[in-house]
């Protein structure tokens, strides 16, 4: 079996230990903030990886669901009197519903056609967000009310570090769980051969839709978390570039690898921060690093490195 029980628990333990230990070496609250951004991106990427890496279906518009989650917690309390925590669940529900409705027709498409259809969905949602300025504040964005849970006001970068870290652990646990179940196997089977999956009784359309909905909910929750954390939200979070960033994290870290999504997010979120010392060459270098990484680790960082390690260990 690909992920033995030990392996699954080991992964969770290492991740938990890392989340717990990192603050010991953080010199300033700025680091808490960057790490929280990594956890949030990783959460969205893990969901997208279930769709792309497991079920083999691409989504180039996934930031749409991130944006829906983010705007749900902004608009809900501000305009509709919904408590912030309830807005988070409403956002997730809305994302799931949209994914379900849109997924039914577009998941029949394959490869490039699916890519374009999901891209269209992303563009559409971003467009609605930036034009409905009465609700969303338009291109300028809008403030987000603080989250309070049972009278506890969730604020401060170190608090959010723990909250997003906890969410990431939960998301990782669920993704690892899914892998070794009939559903997870159905995802991976239809990825490798749709026709073979069908003839053993896998309702391919249904499972693609499930993967799409799961990925949408992950992105939505990540979006809500980011909006709460920043206390502010703008349409870029739902935009095309953010969709591309999510796909890049998944592919760079390793398709089908949960750990890969976390590593990919760490690289893609921290690298630009590190590269700011190069000023105007920042983006150029970032692009170059991604290209070189993909050339030398074409299966993504984590699968390639672990493949290398295993070969070493055996010989």
């Amino acid at each position: 079996m690909r992920a033995l029980v030990n392996h699954r628990i080991l992964t969770l333990l290492v991740l938990a230990a890392m989340i717990a230990a990192l603050p010991l070496i953080f010199p300033s609250s700025y680091y808490f903030r960057v790490a929280s951004l990594v956890w949030v991106s990783a959460l969205a990427a893990i969901g997208l990886n279930i769709l792309m890496g497991q079920a083999g279906q691409v989504s180039l518009g996934h930031a749409a669901f991130f944006g829906i989650g983010a705007y749900a917690v902004a608009i809900g309390p501000a305009h509709l009197g919904v408590p912030p925590w309830a807005a988070l669940f409403l956002g997730a529900l809305l994302s799931a519903a949209l994914a379900y409705l849109v997924g039914r027709p577009i998941l029949r498409l394959k490869g490039h056609y699916l890519a374009i259809a999901t891209l269209g969905l992303g563009v559409l949602v971003a467009l609605v967000i930036s034009t409905e300025s009465r609700w969303t504040g338009g291109p300028d964005g809008m403030p987000v009310a603080r989250l309070t849970l049972f009278g506890w006001r969730v604020a401060g970068s170190d608090t959010w570090y723990w909250v997003t870290g906890g969410l990431l652990l939960l998301g990782t646990w669920i993704a690892l769980n899914l892998d070794e179940t009939p559903t997870g196997r159905a995802f991976r089977a239809l990825h490798d051969s749709e026709v073979a999956a069908q003839v053993v009784g896998v309702d391919v359309a249904r499972f693609k839709l499930q993967a799409f909905v799961i990925a949408a909910v992950y992105a939505s929750l990540a979006g809500s978390a980011l909006a709460f954390m920043n206390g502010f939200i703008n349409p870029d979070q739902a935009g095309f570039l953010h969709s591309v960033e999510l796909v890049t994290i998944v592919v760079l870290g390793g398709l089908g690898s949960v750990v890969g999504s976390i590593v990919g997010a760490a690289v893609l979120v921290t690298l630009p921060q590190v590269l700011t010392v190069f000023h105007e060459y920042e983006h150029l270098l970032l692009g170059l690093i991604i290209i070189v990484a993909m050339i030398f680790m074409r299966n993504g960082i984590v699968p390639s490195l672990s493949g290398l390690l295993f070969r070493r260990a055996r010989s």
Binding site: M1, R2, I174, N177, L178, E180, T181, P182, T183, G184, R185, A186, R188, A189, H191, D192, S193, V195, A196, A197, Q198, V199, V200, G201, V202, D203, V204, Q210, G256
Partner: protein, 260 residues
């Protein structure tokens, strides 16, 4: 008792009649072989029967139910299973997982328990894996259970497909050239396996080019040529049919064979 019945099935691709007016039926525990030269339409017929292609004419009945045009996964749910001539294995999954997917219909598959890995999910996983390991042992792949299927040899993949198809506990099993690429010993094993499956009451439809195997294990044989039925009968009847000899050996060869 007839369990699978195809009546006057036809399908064409861009004017080419790949299958044209073919009928057959097979009962529980029977082995029906479909033979014919390359391009005769055997695989296409399988694709129609298993719902991968939609027939342009004719009907398919499965256990007295009209299942014409039903999607493959619905046919699978009604007890139809198949293997593929051009391998369709799940490359990135282990051999064992391939067979476990074969048990998809026998598993409870609700999403919420899966997400939170309830004890029932773990228990079911254990049972499915045990069943899959038994099947792998049956096709001689026990030692390869945890090997990625993509790294198995051609012959091993063929047998893996059989194990996966059997995992669904089908009532009808369609085998498309299961012995292709297998050596004499492996062919013997497959022969044995097919008989065993039929003895359990499964209706087997076999497409195979290995005539020795076909003649030995078939109850009946259907011969196709260019999409059309050419002959049908017991192995002996078919072997002695001059039309069949002609189709396989050509006009001249048939006369030679008849004289010999």
């Amino acid at each position: 008792m007839t369990i699978l019945k195809a009546t006057d099935v036809g399908i064409s691709f861009g004017g080419v009649k790949a299958v044209d007016g073919v009928s057959f039926s097979v009962g529980s525990g029977q082995i029906l072989s479909i033979i014919g030269p390359n391009g005769a339409g055997k695989t296409t017929l399988f694709n129609v029967v298993s719902g991968v292609y939609v027939a342009s004419r004719g009907t398919i009945h499965l256990a007295d139910e009209d299942v014409t045009g039903l999607a493959p996964h619905k046919l699978a749910a009604r007890g139809l299973s198949r293997t593929f001539q051009n391998l369709q294995i799940f490359q990135r999954m282990t051999a064992c997982e391939n067979v476990m997917v074969g048990r998809h219909l026998r598993e409870k598959c609700s999403l919420l328990p899966a997400l939170f890995r309830t004890p029932s999910v773990t228990r079911q996983n254990r049972e499915t894996r045990a069943a899959a390991l038994d099947l792998l042992a049956e096709v001689g792949l026990k030692d390869f259970a945890d090997v990625p299927a993509g790294s198995l040899s051609y012959g091993a993949c063929k047998r893996l497909e059989i194990a996966r198809a059997l995992a669904a506990e089908p009532r009808v099993l369609l085998l498309d050239e299961p012995a292709a690429g297998c050596n004499a010993v492996e062919t013997e094993e497959i022969d044995h396996l097919i008989r065993q499956v039929a003895d359990r009451g499964v209706a087997v439809v076999l497409v195979e080019h290995d005539m020795k195997l076909v003649m030995k294990i078939s109850d009946r044989i259907l011969v196709l040529e260019r999409g059309r039925p050419l002959a049908e009968g017991t192995p002996r009847e078919v072997r002695d049919d001059p039309k069949v000899l002609e189709a396989y050996l050509g006009h001249h060869g048939a006369r030679e064979a008849a004289r010999a």
